[in-house]
């Protein structure tokens, strides 16, 4: 143990152990870097406002004199905000105390002296990673214009506009597209540079020696070539000799080709990227919700369920492997993601640990449904999973995988068919209750604490006046199984958290719910 290191080390350990320090640092990290943090958007908005105001001042300053107090605002407030932001970013980028502790432990292990120099170099190297990153360079350049000595530096205010990239997602998305197509774009750029080079030289050779009064040097010729090849065609320089015109004709044709080529590359890259951007947006949107239901599979059943959930006001997101079906869900106005739900990644992004409350596996393939169900359950066993399957044998396996609810569409149809054979009228009743097509519905009314039904016996509730048929009471009790009491006795005492299951007109049910 080297005593002389102890002060620095003690400090490092103190910071390591201080929850207060960690929470403050965590707060700033969230504010600056964590997209899922709810207050980040306010900070982003604040920064964008500051940047825009600073750019506005620059523009105003060109023709009018900006009042001194505004200039001071720009000089002191904006600059200090930027400097502060820069320093905080540098701070939250990494933990110095961890490096110190690590370094100390290593030297302790080999029983050698801890060198301050290597420690310093390590820390500096670590922070340099941040300092040398593109966004940090932009940040530092954006601070510079505050130095009023050099007029040229004023233009650097525009770098503040670049800072906005950090605060707006869509702009970064665009840059990403360009980066993605780097190879294609670079090829085209080289090609057009080559054409401009050739055409420029040719024109200079043909018209440079006094034939054309507008072409004074090679720069003019290159300038002309670029203006022509890009189909902009200002006309400030135009060819006068027949040879020059032939060159012009050739590079105009090449130019049209090049331009459409570039456009098509960017457009196609965008449409490729668009779904990804959109899905990123969906995940971001979902990040703001407290609870979300995931529908896997947007086939016939998925569509009906989505519609039903929408009417009930349940927040949900649809996942489908099939691009067309995901697109269809999107055009229906739902949150949709095209991905494979049998992979854990997507559920992690959606927040399977906290946010996802229900997962519905509704694809038409039993094996897929089982796969998805197991995937979700293995990530978080508490998520309520409902799976569709086609027969009892598969249902057993699903139950083994702890799937909470199983739905067998064929079985439901079969059962209803058999009811029809024996009791056609009862079948009609079932059908209208199950499909909720008519005005009469089955619904549940939860008894709230201290409402007019709390602590009343069934006998005292006038269901005749309420125009409702009481089927039974659903008891939800902590710990024990949920219980459905069919046709409860007159002296049954209702209590809070019981639910009445009633059949009746929609308006009668709404009426009772209102009274709650």
């Amino acid at each position: 143990m080297k005593n002389k290191n102890s002060l620095l080390l003690k400090f490092a350990y103190y910071i390591q152990g201080s929850t207060r320090y960690q929470s403050i640092k965590g707060f700033f990290y969230n504010l600056l870097e964590n997209d899922k943090y709810p207050y980040k958007k306010y900070f982003d908005f604040f920064m964008i406002t500051i940047i825009l105001s600073s750019v506005t001042l620059l523009v105003m300053d060109v023709k009018h004199h900006v009042p001194n107090w505004l200039d001071d605002f720009d000089l002191y407030l904006v600059t200090s905000v930027f400097i502060l932001e820069y320093l905080i970013r540098l701070w939250v980028f990494s933990d110095i105390h961890k490096i110190i502790i690590e370094e100390y432990e290593e030297s302790d292990f080999f029983d050698r002296e801890l060198s301050y120099w290597t420690l310093f170099v390590k820390i500096f190297k670590n922070k340099w990673e941040y300092i040398s990153s593109l966004s940090a360079i932009i940040d530092i350049i954006a601070i510079l214009p505050s130095y009023r000595g050099l007029r040229v530096l004023r233009v650097l205010v525009l770098f503040r506009a670049f800072k906005m990239l950090r605060y707006t997602k869509s702009l970064t998305g665009f840059l990403y597209v360009l980066k993605n197509k780097k190879f294609e774009l670079m090829t085209l750029l080289t090609l057009s540079a080559f054409f401009i080079f050739i055409a420029g030289i040719m024109l200079y050779v043909f018209e440079g020696d006094n034939d054309n009064p507008n072409i004074h040097n090679l720069f003019d010729a290159f300038y002309w070539a670029l203006i022509t090849i890009s189909t902009v065609g200002y006309g400030d320089i135009s060819p006068v000799t027949p040879e020059g015109r032939v060159v012009t004709m050739l590079i105009i044709i090449t130019g049209i080709g090049l331009i459409s080529f570039v456009t098509s590359i960017i457009v196609s890259s965008f449409s490729e990227r668009l779904t990804v951007l959109r899905e990123g947006r969906v995940i971001q949107d979902i990040g703001k919700k407290n609870s979300i239901t995931v529908i896997c599979g947007y086939g016939l059943l998925g569509r009906l369920v989505a519609k039903g959930l929408e009417q009930e006001g349940v927040e949900f997101v649809i996942i489908d492997k099939d691009e067309n079906l995901a697109e269809l869900a999107y055009t229906h106005g739902y949150h949709a993601i095209c991905t494979d739900a049998t992979q854990g990644n997507i559920f992690k992004q959606l927040g399977v640990e906290s946010r996802v409350s229900h997962v519905l596996c509704l694809t038409s393939d039993d094996i897929q449904n089982a796969f998805i169900a197991v995937n979700v359950k293995s990530l978080n066993e508490n998520v309520h999973v409902t799976a569709r399957c086609s027969d009892e044998e598969i249902a057993q396996k699903m139950r083994f995988a702890k799937v909470d609810q199983l739905i067998l569409p064929e079985e439901i149809a079969g059962m209803m068919g058999s009811v029809y054979a024996g009791e056609p009228v009862a079948f009609e009743v079932l059908l209208s209750i199950i499909e909720e097509k008519g005005k009469t519905q089955i619904d549940e009314i939860k008894i709230t604490k201290d409402s007019f039904l709390d602590n009343k016996s069934i006998h005292d509730v006038d269901f005749t006046a309420l125009r409702l048929i009481l089927l039974g009471v659903f008891q939800k009790s902590e710990g024990s199984e949920d219980n459905f009491i069919f046709n409860p006795d007159d002296d049954y005492i209702l209590c809070a958290n019981d639910s009445l299951v009633c059949i009746g007109y929609a308006s009668a049910i709404a009426n009772l719910k209102r009274k709650m």
């Binding site: 569709r388 009743v429 069919f486 046709n487």
Partner: protein, 243 residues
């Protein structure tokens, strides 16, 4: 108990199998037909007799010997197009028969009804309501589970008032269903036509012979209730004593 019916089941795919399973529990007389050789083979292995049929030939179908008045025709082909064609064929050949078809969407339900099915079971409609209920209405889900989906004591049934019924001429409000352990859900009041009316206490129906009551109840209570509704005086007295 529930009356035994003669049932002709067309199709032995996923739907057909499930229908057969449930219908055979209720011990109806079932004949199964299929156009698909593979289905017929697999049924044979399970010990179920499935007859081959060519539904495009009217003679084939006419030779089945359908009794229009009493037989039930179930159309449960796997392919909607085949099912629709089948319904159409059956309807042209047997104008008065009762045809029940399985459909997989709201769209097809409309088409099947137009083609002449008396009743259409919409596979996904019922299923999707159930999925939605699981999420939003746990109590309703549980209640429907007990009453409809689970094979248990609780069920929904209908009772028709016959000539000797004790309830003839009585008013609904005067009958104490609750003490008999049954819940009256709906009624077909012949005086008001054939329409099904949910008995949510708005109308105090007068019961007549031929009216149909739809009730939910435990099996035991249901039997007693049936006796109570349609039986002679001696039996009724015993019921009143016990209840």
């Amino acid at each position: 108990m529930v009356e035994k019916k003669n049932i002709l089941l067309f199709g032995y795919g996923n739907f057909g199998k499930q229908l057969y399973k449930h219908l055979s529990i209720a011990k109806h007389n079932i004949r199964i037909f299929s156009t698909n050789d593979a289905f017929i083979e697999s049924a044979k292995e399970e010990g179920v007799r499935v007859e081959k049929i060519n539904m495009k030939r009217n003679d084939d179908i006419l030779s089945l010997g359908v009794n229009e008045a009493s037989d039930l025709l179930y159309c449960a082909m796997n392919h909607t197009a085949n099912n629709l064609f089948l319904v159409l064929t059956l309807r042209t050949l047997f104008p008065k028969a009762t045809i029940i078809a399985i459909s997989n969407s709201f769209e097809n339900t409309r088409k099947l009804k137009y083609a002449g099915a008396n009743s259409v079971i919409d596979l996904y409609e019922a299923t999707s309501r159930r999925v939605v209920n699981i999420l939003t209405k746990p109590a309703v889900t549980k209640a429907l589970d007990e009453i409809i989906y689970k094979q248990n004591d609780l069920s929904m049934a209908e009772v028709v008032l016959d000539e000797k019924s004790k309830l003839d001429g009585k008013y609904l409000h005067d009958v104490d269903f609750k003490s008999m352990g049954v819940i009256l859900v709906a009624i077909i009041d012949k005086e008001l036509g054939h329409e099904l009316i949910f008995t949510d206490h708005r109308i105090n129906h007068k019961l007549d012979i031929g009216d149909t009551l739809v009730v939910v109840s435990q099996k035991e209570n249901l039997e007693r209730f049936k006796h109570f509704v349609n039986s002679d005086n001696i039996k009724r007295e015993t019921i009143e004593q016990t209840s």
